[in-house]
């Protein structure tokens, strides 16, 4: 299926947008918003997908709403800050753009407060609620997201999850206020799997191995990978290691790989761990013994990855996913919005290149703000929490990174990006070349029918049925 469906971006992003915009016009959330109790301005025209860059007709209604205050939970400290800071800067940039355009619907500006989710994250979330935040975003950690998920329902204030991508979290559940922007684990693993099949070829893969972080996320990712690679390439897993987070020691895992010589190594290590792993693999000549090493989130730690490794390894042997966003797509020069975001991001403190985690923050804020604008268009007034939640269901919106749909199961689905990790001397950071774009329908089960959550096919069940 990869040959047919995988585009190496022949179509421009704009073409794709126009293809999809028609879909979204039809399915916008009027029905749901009305269901949520909005009667007043039902006749207001549907704006479809509102743009962040200046509300077009928002000025026609006068919404009586003071500044909107938002809270963001992310890692600002500790090893995961390398991911968390990207999300924070992304969210800050989205807020900045909204305010530069005069605010939501051109009238209501936003403020954003960030808290570290490293310890007692839910306490801090509750503090946001006590402080009367109108919306919350975050977190990064999947464990925290699971914990937060039910708190959000308790507090009945919309949260758009930036990350925390454990697949099962939104499955078989019927949340009202909890949403997730970033693609979930199955999607990022499947993008990596298709990327591997594309580069190495299913016929050339007999054995695979994995080195994944020794906690729930790493175990989930490896489980999904093993199933998928077994179904699609009939490959056998010959080694699977789960080093502790931050252990910094992959000697024994790499030695095992060297002696098994698997065709492909899958690793969902992130942050400093990913970089340390690649360093040590390089020192121990692991790349000579395998055809490819694929990481769904290697690029998330772009800042930490060593230049010598990327340059020293044969081209095409390190493959990296980039979740639902890669800054180089649409290609520079082809989309003013995308270029503007890249320029703005690289001007921010601590951002060498914006990664998918940057979009996690940017996209979550955008999802919420565009949904509120859409609701204002329908209602003629500022929506309440229930109305915002209803509008978000099935809500489609643009960011400079492309088009995203927040599905009725509260899980946003966007394209999955993956390609060859290379070094770019001009920007002094790794880049992804030969990017493959996998559409959301390729890398996840269709969300149709997810309204009745029991009928929904689970992500992992879908992988199993491939």
């Amino acid at each position: 299926m990869t040959d047919e469906d995988t585009t190496t971006d022949e179509r421009t992003a704009a073409e794709k947008r126009s293809e999809r915009i028609s879909v979204s016009e039809g399915s916008t959330t009027r029905r749901n918003v009305l269901k949520a109790g909005a009667v007043g301005a039902a006749t207001a025209a549907l704006a479809g997908c509102s743009s962040l860059l200046g509300g077009d007709d928002g000025d026609s209604v006068n919404i009586d709403q003071d500044e909107v205050s938002a809270g963001l939970l992310t890692f600002t400290e500790g090893a995961a800050a390398i991911l968390g800071q990207q999300a924070q800067r992304g969210a800050e940039m989205a807020v900045e753009w909204i305010n530069d355009a005069g605010g939501i619907a051109g009238q209501t500006t936003m403020s954003l407060e960030t808290q570290d989710e490293g310890s007692n994250a839910v306490d801090k979330y509750n503090q946001f609620i006590d402080d009367g935040k109108d919306v919350t975003f975050g977190p990064i950690s999947s464990g925290t997201h699971e914990e937060l998920f039910q708190e959000i329902e308790t507090n009945q204030v919309v949260n758009v999850g930036t990350d925390g991508t454990v697949t099962t979290l939104y499955e078989g559940e019927d949340p009202t206020y909890s949403f997730r922007f970033q693609n979930y684990d199955v999607m990022e693993v499947m993008a990596s799997v298709f990327e591997i099949l594309e580069r190495v070829g299913a016929d050339n893969i007999d054995t695979v191995a994995g080195v994944n972080p020794g906690y729930s996320f790493g175990q989930d990712e490896m489980g999904i990978f093993e199933t998928a690679i077994d179904r699609l390439a009939d490959a056998e897993t010959v080694y699977s290691g789960f080093p502790d987070l931050g252990s910094g020691d992959y000697a024994s895992h790499i030695s095992s790989i060297n002696s098994e010589e698997p065709d492909v190594v899958f690793s969902s290590l992130w942050g400093g761990d990913a970089s340390t792993f690649l360093d040590q693999a390089f020192q121990r000549d692991m790349f000579d013994n395998v055809q490819a090493v694929a990481g769904p989130v290697f690029y998330g730690s772009a800042d930490a990855i060593s230049e010598d490794v990327v340059k020293g390894v044969e081209r095409g042997k390190i493959l990296s996913g980039s979740r639902n966003y890669y800054w180089g797509i649409p290609e520079p020069g082809r989309s003013p919005d995308s270029d503007a975001l890249y320029d703005a991001a690289t001007g921010q403190d601590g951002i060498t290149v914006p990664t998918a985690h940057y979009m996690s923050g940017f996209g979550a804020v955008t999802a919420w703000a565009t949904a509120v604008e859409a609701a204002i268009d329908i209602l003629g007034e500022f929506p309440d929490q229930e109305q915002i939640a209803a509008t978000l269901e099935g809500h489609g919106f643009y960011t400079p990174g492309g088009y995203y749909t927040m599905n009725v199961d509260h899980q946003c689905r966007g394209n999955g990006y993956a390609g060859v990790l290379q070094w770019d001397d001009n920007i002094g950071a790794p880049v992804i070349e030969d990017v493959n774009i996998f559409s959301a329908t390729q890398i996840s089960p269709s969300p149709t029918g997810a309204l009745t959550s029991q009928n929904e096919q689970t992500g992992e069940g879908w992988v199993d049925s491939l």
Binding site: E77, G78, A79, E226, D464
Partner: protein
């Protein structure tokens, strides 16, 4: 609810299907076995450098220093700065990493790296002295529970200070540094691939330090005084030994060893927030297995734990982190005084 669908996937895991037996077969393949054992020994040597200080301080000062792991972490962080200073591209750099193997420059470069590690470890000496003289000395006579509070407080303070100074991103030396060391052939000469020379470097240097430590305690006068103090504090005092100075010396030595271990690990990997905590907990296991306060026990304990944990990554990866504690529990139940009892008489 969340777990049921994962269980289905887990059933696919080849390793869990085949279980520990196949893992053992994998381990017992000669190449794997040798490489994994060497990995384990290297890890064991580093563990020994940390645990040696912990166990000697415990044996002589009767203090369980919970902040000891942070000294190890501090050593790694300091080495990242010192190393970056000495081998980087700055003005103070002694030499840059050679780009290919050349006997003279490569070994000279290794010398510079060892020098950087030594300097880093020496920087920890005054820190250790301050910890002992200012904080720990006033509480020797008090209930043991206070030393646990005190050293834990120091752990928190040092860990926070590390993050304050170096931030939360991992600190490491440039990869070219590691490549320069790996370019020197070592295990390759024995026909064994897959063990980079940086591992050889760590093993050789740690071995020298370890042997030096035993020599110090058994052959030098100061070493014998320290041992005498460990055996009988009052007797040593009566013979004119100043216990105060001995205690400070021992603590500084412990800080030096932990710092040196951290600095050597940095050459190979990176300094991470949280590395001190895991090192602390593992070195507890080491000293309990070896016998509280026993230096020989620390050697054996460190090697047992280091090698076992590395074997476990092949045999049954999911038990990797539980294995050391299982060993510790078994030893405590079967031979509560540890494999080598206490230190002092028998070195």
């Amino acid at each position: 609810m969340v777990t049921s669908s994962i269980a289905l996937l887990e059933a696919n895991s080849v390793l869990l299907q085949s279980g520990i037996i196949e893992g053992l077969q994998n381990l017992l393949q000669p190449d794997t076995f040798i490489v994994q054992t060497i990995n384990g020994i290297r890890f064991g040597f580093i563990l020994f450098l940390i645990a040696a200080g912990l166990t000697v301080i415990l044996g002589i000062l009767d203090v369980l220093n919970l902040a000891h792991g942070e000294l190890y972490a501090l050593g790694a962080y300091v080495a990242a700065s010192v190393g970056g200073f000495l081998v980087g591209e700055g003005t103070a750099a002694i030499m840059a990493p050679p780009s290919s193997f050349d006997p003279v420059t490569s070994f000279a470069f290794v010398g510079v790296l060892i020098l950087a590690a030594l300097i880093s470890a020496l920087i920890l000496v005054p820190i250790g002295v301050v910890m002992e003289t200012v904080f720990i000395r006033p509480i020797y006579e008090r209930d043991q529970v206070y030393q646990l509070v005190l050293t834990f407080a120091l752990l928190l303070i040092i860990a926070n200070m590390i993050e304050f100074i170096w931030g939360s991103n991992p600190q490491k030396l440039d990869l070219s540094t590691k490549t320069a060391v790996n370019d020197i052939p070592t295990f390759e000469l024995l026909g064994l691939s897959g063990v980079p020379s940086i591992v050889t470097l760590i093993m050789v240097v740690s071995l020298v330090v370890g042997v030096g430590l035993f020599y110090f305690f058994s052959k030098t006068k100061t070493g014998r005084i320290i041992r005498a103090t460990a055996i009988d504090r009052e007797m040593a005092t009566a013979l004119g030994v100043s216990p105060d100075r001995t205690f400070t010396l021992v603590f500084a030595l412990g800080a030096f060893l932990a710092g040196f271990g951290g600095a050597m690990e940095l050459v190979r990997t990176a300094a991470n927030p949280g590395m001190g905590e895991s090192a602390l907990v593992l070195s507890f296991v080491v000293i309990v297995v070896g016998g509280l306060g026993s230096l020989r026990g620390a050697v054996v304990g460190a090697l047992v734990i280091g090698v076992l944990q590395n074997w476990m990554t092949v045999v049954e990866p999911s038990l990797e982190s539980a294995a050391p504690f299982a060993v510790m529990v078994i030893v405590l139940l079967v031979k509560p005084e540890g494999l080598f009892g206490t230190w002092g008489e028998r070195t």
